[in-house]
């Protein structure tokens, strides 16, 4: 493989709960090239966020535990680093923004404090330098009156503004990788569009590599180059955006794409939905985790969990069936 910025191999994360061990991430492998934008899609609870948090070793432990896998960032395994080393990767090299901007900023600290903290921490700036940079950052993410707003507290900002502040915080140290964990889910559509535009602009200006976690396939289509579809803690399909949308191979991907409302639909009809709920995995699955909800399910699907296989140029899928014919591949 050409040199990857981030190379995750066989990542497994489990949570010990009173009801038993939950297998949240089951052998996830993916690579990330410098400058690309990777979309990670899937329903809630399919392991998207946990995978990314595991890479940064941010899952609460206990009860969470990364049981296997490697995550090479520039040749260094993040999962083997000391706490001190990984602390200097977080924020400085790999940054992250979260879903809910209303709760992601500390209510008792000023925006200035929260914005300058990573600068003081990783770049060794002094207070004045950090302040100047913080103003610059706020202007960059499009907050008017940046200078005056520095002294404000989070509650004095609206939701969209707070997400902008979060982005400014994440970008403070010019990280190589930005992990965006559903950053637009809690925002209304117009603000969503603004934030996506902002991220696109910043990506092009700063040449950032982005991992964009979402369950909105529409956003991914406009933003990402490559897409990973996750289900039940597995990657079940991986392809370039156009290929995935034009030629989905996994029944789950087909279901996801099918359940999007379309503006060019001719007749009025019920919106398609996939029956059932994603599984909570208390056992390491021996069958395909999607089989209970799959209309192509065959005998083999109940006995053996499919592995990712290459089915086309840069297109990998984990399914026994060929969705075109409905028979085994």
């Amino acid at each position: 493989m050409p040199d990857l910025l981030l190379d995750v191999q066989g990542l497994e994360t489990q949570f010990k709960t009173p009801e038993g061990v939950i297998y949240a991430v089951n052998g996830v492998s993916f690579g990330l090239k410098e400058g690309e934008t990777l979309g990670v899609v899937g329903e809630s609870g399919c392991g998207k966020s946990v995978s990314m948090l595991s890479v940064l070793r941010l899952i609460p432990s206990p009860p969470g535990k990364i049981t296997a896998g490697k995550a090479y960032y520039r040749g260094q395994d993040l999962l083997q680093m000391s706490n001190e080393e990984i602390r200097h990767v977080r924020g400085a090299q790999i940054a992250m923004i979260f879903q809910d901007p209303m709760t992601s900023l500390n209510p008792v600290l000023t925006v200035e404090y929260q914005l300058t903290e990573p600068l003081l921490l990783h770049l060794g700036m002094n207070k004045e330098q950090a302040r100047a940079r913080a103003i610059e950052l706020l202007e960059m993410v499009g907050i008017p009156n940046a200078k005056e707003r520095l002294a404000d507290y989070p509650h004095q900002f609206s939701g969209g503004m707070r997400q902008r502040v979060m982005i400014a915080m994440a970008l403070a140290c010019n990280p190589q990788i930005l992990i965006a964990d559903e950053p637009t889910t809690a925002l209304d559509v117009t603000i969503q569009a603004q934030i996506i535009e902002l991220v696109k602009r910043l990506r092009d200006e700063l040449g950032m590599t982005i991992i964009w976690i979402t369950h909105d396939l529409g956003i991914v289509a406009g933003l990402a180059q490559r897409v990973i579809v996750m289900y039940g803690g597995f990657i079940i399909e991986e392809a370039f955006v156009k290929e995935l949308y034009a030629n989905p191979k996994h029944p789950y991907t087909i279901g996801l794409l099918g359940s999007l409302p379309r503006i060019d639909e001719q007749e009025r009809q019920r919106l398609f939905s996939i029956d059932g709920l994603p599984p909570v995995l208390y056992n390491k699955p021996t069958a395909c985790p999607f089989s209970p909800r799959c209309k192509w399910a065959m005998d083999r699907c109940w006995k053996e969990n499919p592995v990712l296989e290459t089915v086309g140029p840069d297109h990998r899928v984990a399914c026994w069936a060929d969705v075109k014919t409905g028979r085994a591949r």
């Binding site: 940064l56 941010l58 609460p60 206990p62 602390r87 200097h88 990767v89 977080r90 924020g91 400085a92 940054a95 992250m96 979260f98 809910d100 709760t103 992601s104 900023l105 500390n106 209510p107 008792v108 600290l109 000023t110 903290e117 990573p118 921490l121 990783h122 002294a151 507290y153 509650h155 004095q156 979060m166 915080m169 994440a170 403070a172």
Partner: protein, 347 residues
Amino acid sequence: MAQPETASPAPNVLADSINMRKIGRVERFLGPEYYRILRGLLTTPASIAGLFLITLFAFIAIAAPLIAPPLPNQNPYKIPRDGFSPDPKPPMTEWRRLPPPLPFWWKPIMGTDKWVHLMGTASGQWDIFYGVIWGTRTAFWTGILITSVTLLLGVLIGTVSAYYGGLLDNILMRIVDVFLTLPFIMAALILAAVLIPKLGRSVIPTVIALIAFGWMGYSRLVRGDILSVRERDYVLAARVIGVKDSRIMFTHILPNAIFPTLVIASLDVGTYVLSFAALSFLGIGTDIGYADWGQLLSFARSWITSLGTYWYIVVWPGVALVLYVLGWNLLGDALRDVLDPRMRGRS
């Protein structure tokens, strides 16, 4: 390039037209939360009464050398005595033996330069007035010292316990449980009694004993609040940035979790002064003759059956103690009301 000077920045039409709340300098300096607390404390009647009492006592404590000037070359905390007779003398009895210097306010008001026992004397001829005035200082510094050290200790243990969780949390909380099983006054009494031969008779052994058995409540309280704050997104956001554990604990989490504990602590200042007085009353603690309300009360022990005659040996220090504790309680109650989110927006 020289730009034409505009007379003034364009008036902010929008802000003026929608009548925005002006944010003053104090509010900007303190931040919205602390400003709201301060404003609440200054407008609630109970808190004004509490603040008034505490301020009054603070004034007495600070001005003690002026109100009741001590004998020259003597420890001012040592209550001056007028002889050794066991019978208490009533208020306004004249000083006979070695009177301390006359305070400056006495002559203008009373027109004589004969210093009297303003509040009478206790058994053994200890002057109650001096005891009450200088005892205010003792009350302040023991109360505040005990509360702040217990608070610090309790918060530290509770924070570490909750933040790291797991085995450490288990061990620390079981220690808390063990300490909570001991009856507070009894345990403090025994510890102080053990410490006195080692450290000598002074305020210190009692203070240590009260601290040693007082921190557990704060630990538990702060632990509970931190357990909930720890899971908030902004804590994760701070970890994502790469902030150190200690900094996350004390600057990101603790300010969001400390208020309930602070309220209890402010209510406890009075309680600790009471406990201290109780130990003093039982004869554990300071030297005999040290200015301390509990000790003054203990002088009344042998006269407890004839308080009809000797009311002043109990009333003066008693009233001081009651008002002092009341002041802290009112303040603490007001603080609780101000900080209670359910009370927001009311009154």
